[in-house]
Symmetry: C2
């Protein structure tokens, strides 16, 4: 591979002039420009991107931490991020984490080592406080309520739609609701917390322990939880699911067992809920992803928080 020094030598001009000619920066005579361009073409030269990055001190790369990829929450966020990145001059690097603390720390370390200009955490295993501490090494954007940290964030106000959903259920005089929520943690996850809080706000009580199942994410999870409910003679009138696919998995179990299907509420507004006419919640994650990208690439952005209103999509009945 030819380097800029080769071009300088072959053209008879200095490295500095060659650089100027190539980048069209500063003064270069027409004669020099032509001569250099000819040599560049001859030697099939193209400037080395890594060297440029080193010199400029930037990478034009945003690292996106994804716990896993086969979940609509992440797919939608990623789509939004990619759409925004398209033609922005930034590259998106995917950092699969599986919520593993060690991996997340490794990626943060890479930020510290200037491998990325900024990072977006679509979710995180390590506490927000700890994340926030890494901000001194580079910009870090999260996709949830930043709470008492000063992390820039683009996120959904989940409770808006949750409350709408529970109000609707209350009007229908539904009292027995099963909750299939996302991953269980030492500290209950933000989503699950918001769900239960909205329920409490509307219904004025807390659901029974047996009616809340955590760590539910997939179609299969939904199916098996329905099975468990059935075995334990828990018979919800409605099942509030963490995702359309989950709801559909639940439905599938009852259908296969020839049992009456309880009412369902999904999330993510996927094709599946549309097809089966199941009410769902749209958190507008595509927009949130795009907003997160903008926040990541515009450190001077203000305000550095964007809260999107979630939406309850009423269907069926």
């Amino acid at each position: 591979m030819a380097t800029i020094r080769d071009i300088a030598k072959a053209s008879g001009y200095s490295i500095a002039t060659v650089s100027r000619a190539i980048n069209h920066s500063g003064y270069v005579s027409a004669k020099a420009q032509q001569a250099i361009e000819r040599v560049v073409a001859e030697l099939d030269y193209a400037p080395n991107a890594i060297a440029q990055d080193l010199s400029a001190g930037v990478t034009h790369t945003i690292g996106v931490v994804l716990p896993h990829s086969n979940h609509p929450y992440f797919t939608q966020l990623l789509n939004g991020i990619m759409d925004a990145a398209f033609d922005s001059g930034y590259k998106i690097t995917i950092l699969p984490s599986g919520w593993q603390r060690s991996l997340e720390l490794e990626y943060l370390e890479q930020l510290r080592r200037k491998a990325f200009d900024a990072m977006i955490f679509t979710s995180h295993g390590i506490p927000l406080k700890e994340l926030a501490a890494y901000q001194r090494y580079g910009r870090i954007v999260i996709c949830e309520d930043p709470k008492d940290t000063d992390l820039p964030a683009a996120y959904s106000d989940r409770e808006v739609a949750y409350r709408a959903a529970f109000r609707w259920l209350q009007q229908k005089q539904v009292t027995h609701i099963g909750f299939l929520l996302s991953r269980a943690q030492e500290h209950i996850s933000a989503t699950s917390y918001a769900t239960l809080r909205a329920f409490r706000a509307i219904y004025g009580r807390t659901p029974g322990k047996d009616w809340i199942i955590s760590g539910i994410n997939t179609y299969e999870d939904g199916y098996h939880t329905a099975e468990k409910f059935h075995q334990h003679q828990i018979e919800p009138e409605y099942i509030f699911s963490n995702g359309d696919d989950v709801a559909v998995g639940v439905r599938q179990y009852y259908i296969q067992q020839h049992l009456p299907i309880p009412g369902l509420v999904g999330q993510e507004n996927q094709l599946t809920s549309k097809l089966l006419n199941i009410p769902t919640i749209d958190h507008h994650f595509v927009q949130i992803g795009a907003a997160a990208f903008e926040l990541a690439t515009h450190p001077e952005a203000t305000p550095d928080r964007e809260k999107f209103q979630s939406e309850f999509i009423l269907r069926g009945i």
Copy 2:
């Protein structure tokens, strides 16, 4: 940010010794090691990743060209790639292309400029021949039959399942089949070609022009094509779709119009086809993605082509 020279100065050792101490390479006395480690901790030093990349001449990054992201073909491939990349020390950079020639060339240019160690094209707008020419700048892996080029490839032998599907249809004495195929191009796309070829092999004839619709990728596309069929009084017994979502869109139209639903064959083996009990085809794209990643990161791999058998998944009736 502290640099290695700062560490050298502060510790009283040379740059070379500091480098050796940090990388645990070569000889370093216990005394020097300790002294250097103390200073590293004090100054909160971490080696600059870009500088290391420049020095090493590699980026540990694989560029993955994706036309768009909201299609199972690409999602599945990407999942496979990511799974394989996980813990491999490689980063995956997403390069959205929209099949635009200009963008694809830009990304190839980046390969030439050493921004990536290798590239994976999940699909491509520019001809294979042209792609192959860029191999001199870096390894390029594709996810389809490389034809008469020497590009390394991981891909599905689509015709296996296609033939199985058509054999099944023939046995059922189905004669009127509508084809909803992928994007139209100057030269018909590889997938569409394989479909029609398999049909011809089994049925011994070519479908009528009116029965083949190209450029169909989504639920909406399926819906509108069904509408078009209906308006033109084209009444297929079976509709062979480019994707489960497409098939489901078709189905939706007939349901809404209270028309009899034709038989359906989907592709991608998605949740939707499972739910609605629609036969489908699994091309094992997750595995193909993983294989593509291995090919990308192991230039010495031989053979440098991996063909996966597609699978017809019979459901319903």
